[in-house]
Structure formats: C-alpha cells, structure tokens
Amino acid sequence: MKVVFPIEERCIDCHLCEVACIVEHSETKDPILAYMVEGLSFNEEWSAFTPDPHEALEAGKPKPLNRTRVRNNGAGVSFSMMCRHCEEPKCVEACKNGSLYIAEDGRILLNEDKCVGCWMCIMACPWGAISRNPTRGNVKGLERTAISHKCDLCPDREIPACVMACPTEALIYIEKEEIKNYEVRFSR
C-alpha cells in the first residue's frame, strides 16, 4: 500500500501541502472560495491563539482543517506529517466506539457520523496525525462537540493533493515497504 512520506531534507517549510489539503477537502475545491468564503486556513493562525479549536472558531479565526501539518523546530528542520495508515493502527485500537477503522484498501478512515470526539485517537497516535474538527459533531447536548480529523489519502485523486502541491518533492507517494530503503538524492 502507498502512503505519503516526508523527506525532511527537501522541505522548505512553505506549507503549500496544508493549502492543497485544505482546498482538496473543501466543499468547492477552489482555493479562493475555500479560503475567502468557507473560511478555512491552516492551524498556525488559531493554535497560537488558543489550544481549543472551538474557541478559535468562536473568535472568528479560520477553521483548522488541514489534515497534514508542517512541523518545525525553528532551527531549520521541518517536514509535513500526516497519517501513516499503519498496518496496526494505534488509533483504531484506542477508538472508543469503532469510529476509526481499517478500510479494505488499507487506509485508516473515520466514520464521521459515529465519532464522539473523545480524543482517544489523539492520545494513541504516536505521529500526532489526528486533529480536532470543530465544525462537526455527533454528541447531542454537548456544548463543544467535535470529531476527529485525519488524512484520507484523497479518495478523489490518484496522487494525494499534498504530494502534487509540494514544490520541492518533500512529500512523496511511496509503497510502505520501500520507505526504509529510500535514499534522498537532493538534500539541502
């Protein structure tokens, strides 16, 4: 099975992967409408403000809906990381009610109508690849109900949007087994 793999030596911290991810999963799939009308944007703008995505929404901050995230140490190391679609997914093992599941093709997917936003998956995922989507929720009577949010490998595309958007090929779409032998050729 193929997954997206980050090459940190090539990442220039441009966040275009996040933009592509947001647009691909937007209602309109149009960058201008996605950003200006749907009010989407990447995490940084709200996470600096509050750790709670609902508070960000309430304060009029953009919706934090990117499924990959550029992580950065402020000292020249950055890479974008999203769900690894693990063979033995820790998130699925921890999920309270079976909302996260392994699809027939090996992808780890979320049943968005079932998730109760208990964040057992956030606790369990060692890669930090699951975030909170405050724009949806299934628990009645809960003031701030949200659901989990994660990479689905872009079901409408042959190659995920983040990989296509990356200007420096710092995200590659690769068979899982080939990752350990992959050699970076153009490092910075």
Binding site: F5, E8, S47, A48, T50, P51, D52, R69, R71, N72, N73, G74, V77, S78, F79, M81, R84, C86, E87, E88, K90, E93, A94, C95, K96, N97, G98, K114, V116, G117, C118, W119, M120, I122, M123, A124, C125, P126, W127, G128, A129, I130, S131, R132, N138, V139, K140, G141, L142, E143, R144, I179, K180
Partner: protein, 420 residues
C-alpha cells in the same frame, strides 16, 4: 480446531481480528452474558443522557460476526471451565469444547465493605448498558443523587446526569478527583469546573451507613459526620477483574489472571486479555491490571495472534487516559505520582488555561499530562514506549510546538524505519 472466547467486548474483538489475520477457517465461538451485539461501555454515560444514539454504541459494524465467521452465544453466562476436558460450562448446562480458550471477562464493579445496611437498599453500579437503562429510569424523579467514587466511571456517570438536568453529590476517599489519571493541579482545575456546573464534592470522605425506610434510600452517612439526603446511590469506586469462572482452579490469579508475554496463563491453551488480565506494564516491566480500552484491545490482539499460532511477544502496556469534563480535555500517560528520583517539568498558562506536566526518571519520560493543549501529544507515548533518552532536547518538551523536528535526527531515522 475451535477458539472459544469468554467475554464479548474490546479484548475479544482484538482477538477475533488478530485470529482472522492468521486463520481464516477455524471456528470462533464468543460467549457473553450480556445480550448485546459488541458495544462499548465507555459511552454508557452519554447513552444514559441520550446524547448518543444506540448505533453509536456498537463497537463494530453489524455484520462483524458474520464477516469474521464468529458464532456468538449472547445472553449466556459461562459458569466454569474444566481445563482437563477443555470445556466451558454454561449456566444453562451446555458444555462448549475448546482447543484454545481466551478469558476476556473484563471487570466487575467493586463494592466496598463497611457500608452499614447497604444490603437493605437498592443501589446502582455503572459499568454496563443495562445499568444505564436502569439508572435512567430510576433517576427520572430523583432529587438527590449521591455517587460514591470520583474516578473515571463515577464522574462520567455524574457528567451524564448533568446533561439530563440532574445534579449529583460525589463522595471520594482520596483527596483529589480522578486520582488514577490526574495530578493535584489538573484535578483541582477539573473539580472547580465541575463545581461551577453544580456538582458537589466531599473528598477525603466515604459513606459508612445508609438510612432507609422500607428499603427506600433516604440518607447516607459520611465518615466525616455529615448526613446527606439521598434517593439514589451509585457506587463507582472501581472495577476488579472478573475471575469468578476460574476461581477455584489451578489458574494463577494475583490481582487479575496472570499472563506471560504471549498472553498465556499458566494453563496450557488458555489465554487471558483485557480488564481481567494482569500482564506486563511497559515502563516497569511489572505485571499489572490496566483497565483501559487500548490495553484491552492490544492484549486481545496479541492473544489472538498467539492463539492462532503466530508468535508475537507483547511489549507491555502503557497506562493512558483521555478525559473530558466541563469542556476541558485532558490526556495523560504513564505515572501520575512522581516515582522516586524523578524530575518534574511543568508549564502552566492561566490565560489560555494550559497545563502540562512531564515526569522524567533516569533521562526517560515516565509520565506526561496535558490539559487542554492535547494536539499531537502522542509523541509522548512514542518517547515513553521507546524509552528514549530525552536529555538532548529536554528544554523543548514543554513548548507549544514541540514535535518530531526537535528530536535528534538519529531518532527520526529509526522512527521512519520502524514497521507500523
């Protein structure tokens, strides 16, 4: 060849899914005294308050048994196991032969001794689907609800009651709430928030006697001397491994059924997993009962692989919790009480209401707790489970954006190479 699983919950599901990865053919029989299709007990509080639908309670799609070739025997209780004849005996007299047996009987609520006249009244526990149905009916016109125990189950029950518009009083022996999952600071923050929602707490306290009229509860007597009016008493002081069906056998039981790294008990072809099992903990290597979903699933999975003949060594379980009360999410891992010789790193931002605490012992993280700032904290699970030396990046651990780029490159190379 037949696999028999007693218990039809998280651990059993882990076992079924693992067995089927190795063995597509042989029969799997699942026995449970509960009549329900496999469901999650971790949502009964939200079910109590009708916050989730019944569909959301089911742990797997409705064709799960069919797809996995499982014969469910539901609503049927196992009463004993004959290890010589390799048979499980059911209450209705039927005997089920096994070749490989998994004991996944979970936990049962613990009822503390020393509550005078408790046997004379109807009290409630809160661990099953049925408990939620019964409690919902009973509290309909109750005014005074007392919950004994401020652990996860007790407080989730209180949370459900709050959403039904009911208030509850909580009595807890410890001097903090959620003592297994939170340190004092986090506990105080959650306690304050719950008090604002109308919950009343009596900590450092317990119930010593119940007063009733013709079996109808009227008041509870606290150790501290106070008497509280009460129509409903819920006892939620914890669960104990449910070992009854193997009680007088040669199986090794300490706190739970003791298992080795292959999830085997001391009896050939008999395995145990989940809340009933006492298996290896990952930080200390000591065998403990860790009654949480991810551990129950992992136990079941490793048991399943080994039962089906694919040897897999269980690396050990890490205690972890993800809680949410009064809109405050908290995630914690590992030790809560600082072990001897450990160093404590803390961060508190009252404006954003963020609290983080990390415990380090011998240069390794052995405990971590995050209040509100829970995004991407899973890296701490990774650091704890791999026992990685954190000395070289310790100063970054509490940063808002602490993440894999802060680790030495050597660690990342290992991380990418790992099978996952």
């Amino acid at each position: 060849m037949r696999y028999v699983l007693v218990g039809n919950s998280i651990a059993a599901t882990g076992a079924i899914e693992a067995i089927r990865r190795v063995d597509k053919d042989n029969e799997i029989v699942v026995i449970s005294d509960e009549p329900h299709f496999v469901y999650t007990r971790a949502l009964i509080h939200e079910y109590l308050a009708s916050m989730v639908t019944e569909d959301m309670m089911y742990y797997r799609p409705r064709d799960f048994y069919e797809k996995n070739g499982v014969t469910p025997l539901l609503g049927r209780k196992a009463v004993s196991v004959d290890f010589e004849k390799k048979e499980v005996k059911l209450e209705d007299g039927e005997e089920i032969k096994y070749d490989k047996l998994l004991l996944a009987t979970g936990g049962k609520p613990f009822i503390p001794p020393g509550i005078e006249d408790l046997a004379k009244i109807r009290y409630f526990t809160f661990t099953k689907w049925k408990d939620a149905d019964e409690l919902r009916e009973a509290v309909a016109d109750a005014e005074n609800i007392v919950v004994l125990g401020a652990g996860l189950i007790g407080l989730q029950c209180v949370d459900g009651l709050l959403h039904m518009g009911k208030r509850a009083t909580v009595v807890e022996l410890a001097d903090t709430i959620l003592p297994m999952a939170l340190d004092r600071k986090a506990s105080d923050i959650i306690k304050d928030a719950l008090e604002k929602e109308g919950v009343k707490f009596y900590l450092n306290n317990t119930i010593t006697k119940v007063y009733h009229r013709n079996g109808e509860l009227k008041e509870v007597q606290l150790k501290s001397g106070e008497r509280l009016p009460a129509d409903i008493l819920v006892i939620a002081v914890g669960v104990r491994p449910r070992t009854d069906i193997v009680m007088d056998t040669k199986i090794e039981i300490d706190r739970g059924i003791v298992v080795n790294e292959l999830m085997e008990t001391n009896i050939p072809d008999v395995y145990a997993a989940g809340d009933v099992a006492q298996g290896k903990e990952i930080i200390t290597g000591i065998k403990m009962v860790i009654p949480i979903i991810p551990v129950a699933y992992a136990h079941g999975k490793y048991a399943g692989f080994n039962m089906a003949g694919e040897e897999r060594v269980f690396p050990g379980a890490l205690s972890m919790n993800s809680l949410q009360f009064a809109n405050i999410p908290v995630i914690s891992y590992g030790f809560i009480k600082p072990p001897e010789g450990s160093e404590e790193l803390t961060y508190f931002d009252p404006d954003r209401l963020i609290y983080k605490r990390i415990l380090i012992q011998n240069d390794r993280i052995v405990g971590a707790l995050f209040l509100r700032a829970v995004d991407r904290v899973g890296i701490f699970r990774y650091l704890i489970e791999r026992k990685l030396d954190v000395t070289s990046f310790k100063e970054h651990l509490l940063k808002d954006d602490f993440d894999y780029p802060y680790l030495p490159k050597k660690y990342r190379l290992e991380m990418w190479r790992e099978p996952y």
